[in-house]
Every structure is written in C-alpha cells, then in structure tokens.
C-alpha cells in the first residue's frame, strides 16, 4: 500500500483541481456568458421585481388564481426545501390528506382531477394538466368578474404540448398562466 501512497495523494489532489475547480468554474463562466438567464435560475421579472422562476412553482390560495398541486416542500413551495410527501400507497395519512385538500374545491374528491390532490415529487412542480386548469376556470372567472371563456382561452394558449408529440405530458405552467390572468385584468381595467 505504501508504494501507492504518493500516486493516491497526488491523483486525489489533481482530480480535485481539475474536476472540482477548473471544470465547474469554467462551466459557470461559460454558462453566465452564453445563457445568463437560465444559469441564474430563469427569473421572471415584472416592473423590475423578480416575481418567480419560470421553472419553479409557487403557492396560490386566492380564488383569483389557478391553484397548483399540494406541496410537501417545507410549508409549501419552499424554494430551499424541495421534497415529496413520500407517503406510501397504503398510508392512512395520505388518504386523510386527500380528503382534507378536496374540501378546498367544495366538490367530492372523485370529481377533482387527481393531480390537484396528489403532492408532486419535488414540491415545486410548476405544472398541472390542462384538465385541472379548466376545472378551476369557473372559480377564477367569477373572482375576477370576467367571462369563463376568457379564462379558457388563456388556458388553451398556455397549454404546452408534448415535445415531438410524445415526450412529456400536456401541461399548463400555472405561474405563467396566472401572470397572464393578472395582465389581462390590468389591461381590461
């Protein structure tokens, strides 16, 4: 083993310098130069303020907004505490949580699109299905006093289709949709 000591120590040091410093720092430099928006977290800026990241979901509770999925990230959509619920398939706790969350929609859980009652894996899922968005169109329209068809049009506009027709489920980024709803309300006023 002793004869291997020098190569072991020197190689550990050299690979640390190469793959631990040179590589990530060079990539950081290149990334900041070529793709600064993405490299810094894909911020959405409105009136000079960062209102979100286009990839990260945030919590919505007001009737004026389309709501997202239950989140187990911290107290909900905590950007520093990504997590799923990790509740298992025979968990009574999970069953109780689903029933409790369903109360928010005021209809039986069987009528609610299921991803609105299931926690995402990251707790930061920015998407819901188009069906789950349309399901909420009536409530949002009423809260904003605008025609339901306007909300439905926006949902259709913000629905992303699978890449190449196959990869990824049809989905709506609700932060983008809710921003659009706010902008529509602002211009209508």
């Amino acid at each position: 083993m002793l004869s291997h000591l020098r190569p072991a120590l020197v190689m550990t040091l050299l690979f640390t310098l190469l793959t631990g410093l040179a590589y990530p720092l060079a990539m950081t430099g290149l990334g900041q130069m070529l793709f600064p928006a993405q490299a810094n977290g894909s911020a959405i800026v409105r009136n000079g303020a960062v209102v979100g990241s286009s990839l990260i979901g945030q919590s919505f509770t007001s009737d004026r907004y389309v709501w997202g999925r239950p989140s187990a990230a911290g107290a909900g959509y905590d950007g520093r505490a990504s997590s799923g619920s990790n509740l298992g398939p025979t968990s009574q706790v999970l069953a109780d949580r689903i029933v409790a969350d369903a109360g928010r929609y005021g209809v039986p859980s069987s009528e609610i699109p299921s991803e609105l009652l299931t926690a995402s894996a990251s707790g930061l899922d920015p998407h819901i299905s188009p069906r789950a968005a349309l399901f909420q169109a009536g409530r949002v329209a009423a809260a904003r006093s605008i025609p339901v068809s306007d909300v439905e049009t926006l949902i259709a506009q913000y629905t992303e289709q699978p890449a190449l027709g196959v990869f990824g489920e049809p989905r709506v980024n609700i932060l983008a949709l809710n921003l659009a709803l706010d902008e529509r309300s602002a211009t209508a006023r």
């Binding site: 083993m1 291997h4 072991a8 020197v10 190689m11 190469l18 631990g20 410093l21 590589y23 990530p24 990539m27 950081t28 990334g31 793709f35 993405q38 810094n40 977290g41 303020a49 979100g52 990241s53 990839l55 990260i56 945030q58 919590s59 999925r69 990230a73 905590d78 950007g79 520093r80 505490a81 990504s82 799923g84 619920s85 990790n86 398939p89 025979t90 968990s91 009574q92 999970l94 689903i98 859980s109 009528e111 299921s114 991803e115 299931t118 926690a119 995402s120 894996a121 990251s122 930061l124 899922d125 299905s129 699978p162 890449a163 190449l164 990869f167 990824g168 489920e169 989905r171 809710n178």
Partner: protein, 565 residues
C-alpha cells in the same frame, strides 16, 4: 397505459441499442491506449498527471497491486471529502452560511460518494455549501465512476489475456477514464443542461416576491456541472433534495430522456467493449441482450403498476383515471416516471424523478428487486458489468454441472477458485442487506421510519438494498440521520463496493494467467438465446431465493393487505 407511454419506453430502449456500439468501441480504444481524436489535446495533460504522481504508465499491476492501488486511492478520497464536509464553514463559496456537516452524516456522505452510491442522508440545498458540492461531491462523482469503469476493463482483460500476470495499471485506467471519457462528455452535457434551464452560478439564491405577495427563496448553485456527471457516472446524488424531480435538475421531458440515456450509455457500451476485447463482439451483445430482457420485464411491470391508483387514493375517493400521481411530476407523468425508476435502479444510479416511496406496492417492488439482484441490468458504470460477468461465471458453472463437463467461458476454464470467488461476490451484498434490515427492524432503526404497516418495513429494507447495491435511491420517508443508519449504511456501502470489486479482480487475475482453449464441439455457446435466457433466469432465481421472505414481509404483504395503515 397509453401508446405514447410505450413509445417513450421503446424509443429509449432503441436509442440505447444504437449508442452501445459507438460508446463501446470508443471505450475499447481509450483503454487499449489507442489514439483517439482527443489525444492531441489530452495526451500532454495525461503525461503531466503521471509525472506528478510518479506513475510509470507502462508498468502494469497484478490483481493484488491493482486492488491495493484502488483501495488506497479510495481511502485518500474518503478522507479528503470528509474533511471538506466537516470544515465547509471555514471554506469559501458558502453564501448560505451553512455550518460544518455533522460528523455521522459527513462520514456517511464521504463513503457514499466514494463508493459511487450517493445515498444522501442530507438535503442538498439546506446542508451543502457550493464549495462542498463542487470541490467535494462533484470530484467523487467523476473519480468513483472512473474507478468502476477501470475494474470492468481489468475484468475484461482477465478474459482477453492468456498466461498473463497483470491486469493493467490502475492509475492509467483511472486517469484515462476521467480525461478521455467522463470530462469531455460532461462539458458538452453541462452546456446543454444550462441552456435548458439548469442553474450554473455561485450566487446564494434567487429571491422572489410571489404573485400573492409572499416571499420565496429559490435555491440555486453550480447545478448543471454536477448533474452532467451525476447521470453519466451513474452516481445519482442530487444537488437538491428532490433530486431529478426538482425542475432545476430536470426541467423537461427531452432533458429527462437525455439524462436516462446518459445513465445507461457507459454500462451498455462496456458490453461491446468487452466483446471487442475478447475478440468476439457477439459475446458482448449476448450479455447486453440478457440485460435487455430483464429491463423490459421490469419497465412493463412498473409502468402497468403506476397507471393504477393506490389503495389510499381509492379510499379517499380519488378518480383513478390518472393513475398514481402522488410523488410524480406533471411534466413526466406515469410512463416517464416508471421508466426512470427502472433505469435508475437497473443501473446503480439512484437519481429519482419521482418518489419511489409513494409508488404502488407492485410498482415499488421493481426498483427494489433491481437493486436486490445486484444492479446487473446495464448497471452502474463498470459495476453492473463486472457484476453481470460474475453471474455469467456462475451460469456457466451451473450449465457445466448439468451436462457434466468442465465449464469454460470464452476458452477460460472455470474452476473451483473462480466459482468460490464468484459466490463470495454474489453473497456479499445480500448478507449486508438482510443483516442490516433485520437489525433495523429489530428496533435499532424503527424510529426513522415514516409509514406504518408493511410499508415501514419496506422503507428499511429498501434503504439497505440501496446502500449495499451502491444505488443511493431511497424510500425517502425514512429519516436516515441516526447513528444506526449513518454507520450501518456506511458499512453496507463499503461491503457492496469492495467485497465485489476485490473478488472480481481476483477472478480476473486468476483468469488472465490461464491459457485460452479453442472452442470445441462440447463447449457451451455463450452467444445464443439459450445462454441469454439461462443467465437472466439464474439472476432472477438467485434473487428470488435470497430475498423472497423479506419481500413477503414488505411489498407483497402491502399489496395484499386490503386495508390502510
């Protein structure tokens, strides 16, 4: 199940079959010391590394020397990583001001990353400084992968050489793996990943004022550079707690596909490298075919299972049409989540894009069984391949017993020494898994369990399967920060890494010294469907015989319980 879901699965499988050969031939060239298109740039760097380390690249080692170099290197890496984690509060690039990592978790993490397990007893975004992520963890993502490939290559040399006393030079194989294979690919991948939305910055976070007027502090960091090697090196340790489910680690479906392809690329390619090295590429395709059979069975079962709602959902009156979306991301859905779960546990990657803990009981069995049989389906870079060859030796031995002939594989006689070592390598992990799970269930580990009933048992069982299999994925409801888990899991990881590598190298050393007999009419052909089927069957039989009782206590009991807990 939908047509689109199956198209994703078939496209993925087809792409792996397509890239296996080019990857395999490139690896054969790199480790054969041949000139590649990167040689003009990298040769001077390589030479400088050898000069600094006092390595004479032409001096080869026997299996003992090769193993000793490997163990010494792993030890040096473990100590350095442990020191970095403990001292991160004194080191730069710690914008969140995290304290040093607690000693148990730091020791567990150091062993975890050096053994290519990447079990994470911590949440990345709330524990690790940018310095620790880059200079500590990213480095081990590279070198632990290069060590795995080196062992696979040394193992293949055991078959390829005759009357030889050496298996190669560990330092050369290690250096070439990082310089010619891992680093160039990761540079390209990182740029693609940043363009697709993965952060790459040393900033603290992205502070947000939400639409409803709240605040959200979105963790960022040097993510893309780590994710590239996390997947390509089948490490699987996430930058963030939610791993590849986090939108910053896996922003969309195409990137998800690319990540899965990079998980399998080297493992699949090594089969072809092996065929090329032993002078008959069909031998490699036969091994890959046996892996393919097991893979497709696993994906089919997991996908089918996850399109069903769980008993908890049905009890709560949920619409079962969307399948089991608890712990899954909308952008991936059930098909890409089930596929990812099978890929990550077939390879010893351990990254997750959905929470395995929330899978249906039958859906959760597939990743578990993948790990229990030793992750030989493509496998971790290198580790899966030499694991598979150990099973191939056992298969040849059993086939030899059936027909009453001295077994031989690729012209090498398989004798008592090789079979004993193969059995040692095959039994090491099950021993660690079953003893660890039994100790946990006896009360030492029950306080970390989240779920009641059989699922709680599965959380402990899965944890030890993951550690001993050097996988790193988890039924993450389990809290694994107690001394029992940090030390117990560390022991399981060490056994799962070195008690397979050392016997594998010993087998290779013993085989390399033997002559190669020309095939005769009595040789068992190892390229046909009979061998492929038998190999797949032996793997499943060994796994089933070893683990059926434990599976019956966990997921099988849960699947048939008919009630909630």
């Amino acid at each position: 199940m939908t047509l689109e879901g199956w198209i994703i699965i078939l496209v993925f499988t087809g792409l792996i079959a397509l890239i296996a050969r080019p990857v395999g031939l490139y690896l054969a060239a790199v480790y054969g010391g041949e000139r590649t298109w990167l040689t003009p740039v990298l040769r001077p760097v390589e030479t400088a590394f050898y000069a600094a380390a006092g390595v004479k690249p032409q001096d080869e080692q026997g299996w003992r020397g090769y193993a000793a170099a490997l163990v010494t290197f792993s030890l040096a890496c473990t100590l350095l990583l442990f020191a970095i984690l403990r001292l991160q509060h004194l080191l730069p690039w710690n914008p969140q001001g995290f304290d040093g990592v607690a000693s148990g978790v730091a020791m567990n993490t150091a062993i975890s990353f050096v053994t290519n397990t990447n079990w994470q007893a911590y949440a990345g975004e709330s524990t690790m400084s940018h310095f620790s992520q880059m200079v500590g963890l990213t480095v081990q993502n590279f070198v632990s992968a290069a060590v795995g490939i080196a062992v696979a290559i040394a193992f293949a040399r055991g078959f390829a050489r005759k009357g030889a006393g050496t298996l190669g030079n560990f330092w050369v194989d290690l250096t070439r793996g990082v310089l010619y294979v891992l680093l160039p690919v990761c540079i390209v991948l990182t740029l693609i990943y940043i363009a697709s939305g993965m952060p790459q910055t040393l900033a603290r976070s992205l502070p947000v004022t939400t639409l409803e007027g709240g605040t959200q502090d979105v963790a960022v960091g040097p993510v893309a550079s780590q994710i590239a090697i996390k997947m390509f090196g089948t490490n699987g340790g996430g930058f963030f707690n939610a791993n590849a489910a986090h939108p910053f680690e896996n922003p969309g479906a195409l990137i998800n596909l690319l990540q899965m392809l990079t998980i399998f690329a080297i493992g699949a390619g090594l089969c072809i490298t092996f065929g090329r090295m032993v002078g008959d590429e069909r031998q490699g395709w036969a091994i890959l075919a046996a892996m393919g059979v097991l893979f497709i069975i696993g994906v089919g079962l997991a996908y089918w299972a996850e399109t069903h709602a769980t008993p908890a959902m049905l009890a709560a009156g949920l619409d079962p049409a969307s399948g089991n979306m608890e712990g899954k991301e909308t952008r991936f859905g059930t098909a890409a989540s089930a596929l990812f779960a099978v890929v990550t546990t077939a390879a010893s990657c351990g990254a997750v894009n959905a929470m395995h803990d929330s899978f249906t009981a039958p859906g959760g069995i597939i990743p578990l069984v993948n790990m229990l049989v030793g992750e030989v389906v493509v496998g971790g870079v290198g580790a899966g391949f030499y694991g598979m060859l150990v099973f191939a030796i056992l298969t040849i031995f059993i086939a030899g017993l059936m027909v009453g002939r001295t077994p031989a594989y690729l012209g090498k006689k398989i004798e008592a020494r090789e079979v004993k070592l193969a059995v040692l390598a095959i039994l090491a992990s099950p021993l660690a898994i079953l003893v660890g799970t039994a100790l946990a269930a006896s009360g030492l580990g029950t306080s970390g369990v989240q779920d009641a009933g059989p699922h709680g048992f599965t959380e402990m069982f899965y944890a030890f399967a993951s550690a001993a299999g050097n996988n790193g994925s988890a039924f993450a409801g389990l809290t694994a920060t107690s001394d029992f888990y940090t030390y117990g899991q560390a022991a399981a990881m060490l056994i799962g890494r070195f008690l397979i590598i050392i016997p594998a190298l010993a087998i290779a050393g013993s085989l390399a010294a033997k002559p190669i007999a020309p095939p005769s009419a009595g040789s068992f052909p190892t390229t046909g469907p009979l061998f492929v089927g038998l190999l797949a069957f032996i793997i499943l039989i060994v796994g089933a015989l070893t683990f059926f009782p434990a599976l019956a206590l966990g997921p099988l009991a849960e699947a048939t319980a008919g009630k909630l807990f």
